[in-house]
C-alpha cells in the first residue's frame, strides 16, 4: 500500500465503522432507501406482470410468474458474485466465460451418475472459484484494472476450453440437474426452492455478516479499510472468488435447464448480470447496493424482456424500448432523487450525517435538497 498523509487518516478512518452502522440500521426494523428500492423493484415487477394481462391473455398468471422466476434464476445466481465484485469497486467481465466453464465441466463430469453429483459440483465450484481468485489476485497484486484483468482471464479460459474440447463439448446432461427444472416440490419447481435457499444465504452473507460489512467498507474506501486494519487484498480476492463460484453454479444450472453445453452458453448472461446489479441500485463505483435489490433487478429485467417480446414489435424497436425502460428505471431508482429516496424522508434529512462514506461529494450535493 502507498503511504498516506495524516489528513487522509483523519477523514477516512471512521468510515468502516459508519458503514457498519449503516448496515446495522438496514438490518433493523427501519427501512432505508435501499430497502425501499428493493420493495419498489419487486412492486414494479408484480405490477408489470399483472398489467401485462392487457397485452396477452397468457400474462398475469401464476404460470407466467413461475416461468419468469425460472428464466431469471441464472442472472439471480450470477448477480450475487457480480454484486459483491461491484460492491468492492470492481467489475467481473469473466462471468460469462466462467459460467460456460462450469457448464462444460458439469456436462463432462456429472453425466448420468447421481454419485458424481456429490463430488463433481464441489470440484467444479472449486475450479471456477480459483479462476475468480486469480482475477482477484490480478486486480490486487498486479494492480490491473479489473475489467482488463477479468477480460484477459476470460479470453485465456475460452482459448483453453476451445482447445480442450475441440469446439464441441462432450458429455451428458445430468438427469438430476434437469429434474431440478422439471419436477416440483410442494407445488413449486425444485429449482425455485433451491433458489430461495440461495437468496437467503446470500443475503445473510452480504448484509448480515462481518464479512459482508467488511466488503462494504472496502468498497466505500479501500484506503480507509486498510488503515482500519482490514485485510483489503484478501477481501477483494474473496469477492472475485465468490463471483467465480456463483458463475460456475449458474453454468451448472444452465446445463440442467438447456440439457446441453456449448462453448458460448454463458456469453449472453454477462451484461444482464451487471445490469441486474446496477438496476438494483448499486453504485458502479462500489460501496453501495444489496443483494435483494439485485434479485429485484434481475426479475424486473426478465419480466420486461418477456413483456416486450409479446408486443409483437420488430427486433429493433424491442431493443430500443428495453434500453429506454432500463434508463428510466435507473433514473427512478437512483440514490438522491429516486423512489427509495422519496419514500424515506427521515433518512433524507439525516443522510448527510449518517452516511459520510457513500461517496465524498454526495452529502454536499444533497444538502440543499434536505
Amino acid at each position: 500500500m502507498t503511504k498516506t498523509s495524516p489528513s487522509e487518516h483523519a477523514t477516512a478512518a471512521p468510515v468502516p465503522e459508519a458503514s457498519a452502522k449503516a448496515t446495522a440500521a438496514r438490518s433493523g426494523f427501519r427501512i432505508g432507501p435501499e430497502g425501499w428500492t428493493t420493495l419498489a423493484l419487486f412492486g414494479l415487477t408484480v405490477f408489470m406482470i399483472l398489467a401485462s394481462r392487457l397485452i396477452s391473455s397468457g400474462f398475469g398468471s401464476w404460470q407466467q410468474a413461475q416461468a419468469i422466476l425460472l428464466l431469471s434464476s441464472f442472472t439471480i445466481v450470477l448477480g450475487f458474485g457480480q454484486g459483491l465484485v461491484i460492491l468492492i469497486g470492481g467489475l467481473d467481465l469473466s462471468v460469462g466465460v466462467v459460467m460456460t466453464l462450469g457448464g462444460i465441466l458439469a456436462y463432462r463430469w456429472i453425466g448420468t451418475s447421481l454419485v458424481a453429483l456429490f463430488w463433481a459440483i464441489p470440484c467444479i465450484l472449486l475450479v471456477t472459484g480459483c479462476v475468480g481468485a486469480i482475477n482477484g489476485l490480478g486486480a490486487t497484486l498486479l494492480r490491473l484494472p479489473p475489467f482488463i484483468m477479468t477480460l484477459a482471464t476470460s479470453l485465456i479460459i475460452y482459448g483453453v476450453f476451445l482447445g480442450f474440447t475441440g469446439g464441441q463439448p462432450r458429455g451428458v446432461a445430468s438427469p438430476a440437474l434437469t429434474s431440478a427444472y422439471t419436477s416440483t416440490f410442494a407445488g413449486l419447481p425444485v429449482i425455485l426452492w433451491l433458489l430461495l435457499i440461495f437468496i437467503v444465504l446470500a443475503t445473510l452473507v452480504q448484509s448480515h455478516s462481518s464479512f459482508g460489512r467488511r466488503l462494504y467498507a472496502v468498497g466505500t474506501s479501500p484506503m480507509a479499510a486498510y488503515i482500519a486494519g482490514l485485510p483489503v487484498r484478501l477481501l477483494i480476492v474473496a469477492a472475485y472468488a465468490i463471483s467465480g463460484v456463483t458463475s460456475g453454479l449458474a453454468g451448472i444450472l444452465l446445463v440442467g435447464y438447456a440439457t446441453g453445453a456449448t462453448l458460448t452458453m454463458g456469453q449472453s448472461y454477462l451484461l444482464p448480470s451487471v445490469a441486474a446489479v446496477v438496476v438494483g441500485g448499486a453504485s458502479i463505483l462500489g460501496g453501495r447496493g444489496t443483494y435483494l435489490a439485485t434479485v429485484g433487478g434481475a426479475l424486473l429485467l426478465t419480466t420486461l424482456s418477456t413483456i416486450i417480446e409479446a408486443l409483437g414489435l420488430a427486433e429493433g424497436w424491442r431493443t430500443v424500448i428495453y434500453g429506454l425502460v432500463i434508463m428510466l428505471a435507473l433514473l427512478a431508482l437512483r440514490e438522491n432523487m429516486g423512489i427509495g429516496w422519496a419514500l424515506t424522508p427521515k433518512f433524507r434529512n439525516t443522510a448527510s450525517r449518517s452516511r459520510p462514506g457513500g461517496a465524498g461529494h454526495k452529502p454536499n450535493k444533497t444538502g440543499g435538497n434536505g
Binding site: S57, L162, P169, G260, L263, T306, E315
Partner: protein
C-alpha cells in the same frame, strides 16, 4: 592442435549439413504439397466443428493426404479478424482458402486481392458477393419456403405460429425468412404472433421460445431456423398435454423426437431441413479437383442439395456409416445438437459419422471423383452477387407442394 581438429570437424559438419539441406529441399520440391488454409469464422457449436472435421478428414484421405498441407485458422465472429487472417494467408502464398465467411460483403476487397495473387477462395455454407470467389452452399435451395409450406400443410392452412429466427442482420437469416414469409403471406389464416431471434443457438432459442409461450399459450405451430432442438425443449417444458408441428433444422435430438411415439401421440410432428455441414466437404473436393487440374470450373455459385426429412422419413442409422437412407443417430452416440446431415452418398461417399466427430479419415477410403456436372445456384442479390437480377421464381417450392389453399 585441438583447435585445428575442432575447426576441421566443424567444417566437415557444416558441409554435411549443407548437403542435407540441399537434398531435403530438392525432395520437397519434387512432391510439393498444396498449401490450403481452412478459415473458420467461429468454432463453438457442433455445426462448425463438424464442418471443419469433415474437411480435415478429406484432406487426410488418400490420395489427398500426400497432396495437401492443411492449416486451420479460427478467427472468431469478427469480420476484421477474418480479413487479417485472409491477408496472412495471401502473404503466405496459399494455393487455396476454404472458409466459412462471416460477412457476404466485408471480405470482398481482401478476396479480390487474393484472387489476383492466384489464391483460390472457396466459401462453404455462408456466401460472399465477390465474383472471383466460389460459393458452395445450400442457401439458395429454398430452406425457408419449403419448411414454411410444410408447416402450413401440417396446420391445414390455419394456425397461430412463432418464427424463431437466426442472427439479426445476417444475410442467411434474411434469405430464410423472406422465403418463409413469401409462403405464409399466401395464407390469411396463418397468424405470426411472435418473431424472435434464437441466434442459431439451442439455448437462446429455448429461452426465447419459453418467453413467447408465456405470452401466447394459444400457439399451434413453430417455424424455426437452427436451434429447433431448444424450441422443442421449451415447448415440452411448458407442460402442455397437446403438442403441435414444429419445423426446424437438422439436430439429432429434433429428428429423434420426430419419431418418438410418445410425442407423436401428443400431436407432435414436423420437418427437418437446413444447413448441412457436409457442404464444407463438397466445397473442399471441388477445390481440390480444380487445383489438381481435374476440373475446369466455369460457374462460381454451386448449390448443395437441400436436405429434406419430414417426420415419416426419419430413419435411425444402425452404425456409423450411411445405410439405406438413414439420417439420424441413436441418442447415446452423439450429442443432442449434433447436426445429422453429414452424409451425401453420391457427392461424399468418403464420410462417416466418425469423420465428422473426429476429423479422422474413414479407414480404407479413397477420394472418389465428383459428378461431371455441378448444380449451379441461382443468383440472389446480397447473397452470392452484388448487383444482379434474381430469377422470377426465386421462392419456388422444390420439396413440398401446397396441400391446402
Amino acid at each position: 592442435m585441438i583447435g585445428q581438429y575442432l575447426k576441421r570437424g566443424l567444417l566437415a559438419f557444416s558441409a554435411a549439413a549443407a548437403l542435407f539441406i540441399a537434398a531435403h529441399g530438392e525432395s520437397k520440391a519434387q512432391d510439393k504439397k498444396f498449401k490450403i488454409y481452412l478459415s473458420l469464422s467461429y468454432s463453438g457449436n457442433d455445426w462448425q466443428t463438424e464442418a471443419a472435421n469433415i474437411v480435415k478428414a478429406l484432406a487426410a484421405t488418400p490420395p489427398y493426404d500426400k497432396l495437401v498441407d492443411l492449416r486451420e485458422v479460427i478467427s472468431g465472429t469478427d469480420v476484421q479478424a477474418q480479413i487479417s487472417a485472409y491477408e496472412s494467408m495471401i502473404a503466405d502464398k496459399a494455393d487455396g482458402v476454404i472458409s466459412f465467411p462471416v460477412s457476404p460483403t466485408a471480405l470482398n476487397r481482401t478476396i479480390r486481392k487474393g484472387c489476383k495473387a492466384g489464391v483460390l477462395f472457396f466459401m462453404y455454407d455462408a456466401t460472399v458477393t465477390e465474383p472471383c470467389a466460389y460459393n458452395v452452399s445450400y442457401i439458395t435451395s429454398g430452406f425457408g419456403e419449403n419448411t414454411a409450406q410444410a408447416l402450413v400443410n401440417m396446420l391445414g392452412g390455419k394456425g397461430i405460429i412463432f418464427e424463431n429466427r437466426g442472427v439479426p442482420g445476417n444475410s442467411v437469416d434474411k434469405r430464410h425468412v423472406l422465403g418463409a414469409e413469401a409462403i405464409f403471406k399466401k395464407y390469411p389464416n396463418i397468424h405470426i404472433v411472435a418473431t424472435y431471434y434464437g441466434m442459431w443457438s439451442a439455448q437462446t432459442s429455448q429461452q426465447e421460445t419459453a418467453k413467447a409461450l408465456i405470452a401466447h399459450p394459444e400457439v399451434t405451430g413453430i417455424w424455426s431456423e437452427y436451434g429447433e432442438e431448444g424450441v422443442l425443449k421449451a415447448v415440452l417444458a411448458s407442460k402442455r398435454s397437446e403438442l403441435f408441428p414444429i419445423t426446424g433444422e437438422d439436430s439429432n435430438a429434433f429428428r429423434l423426437a420426430l419419431i418418438d411415439p410418445a410425442l407423436k401421440a401428443r400431436g407432435f410432428t414436423g420437418a427437418s431441413s437446413g444447413s448441412p455441414p457436409a457442404t464444407a466437404g463438397y466445397a473442399f473436393k471441388i477445390m481440390m479437383e480444380v487445383l489438381t487440374k481435374k476440373r475446369n470450373l466455369a460457374i462460381h455459385n454451386i448449390e448443395y442439395p437441400l436436405p429434406w426429412v419430414p417426420a415419416d422419413k426419419v430413419k435411425v442409422c444402425p452404425g456409423d456409416e450411411f445405410e439405406n437412407g438413414c439420417n439420424v443417430f441413436p441418442k447415446d452416440k452423439v450429442t443432442d445438437s449434433f447436426t445429422t446431415e453429414v452424409f451425401e452418398p453420391v457427392l461424399l461417399p468418403e464420410l462417416t459419422m466418425k469423420t465428422a466427430l473426429t476429423g479422422l479419415p474413414k479407414p480404407g477410403a479413397t477420394i472418389q471423383p465428383l459428378p461431371a456436372a455441378l448444380h449451379p445456384a441461382p443468383l440472389e442479390p446480397g447473397i452470392n452477387c452484388g448487383h444482379c437480377e434474381p430469377p422470377a421464381d426465386l421462392y419456388k417450392l422444390t420439396k413440398v407442394q401446397p396441400a391446402v389453399h
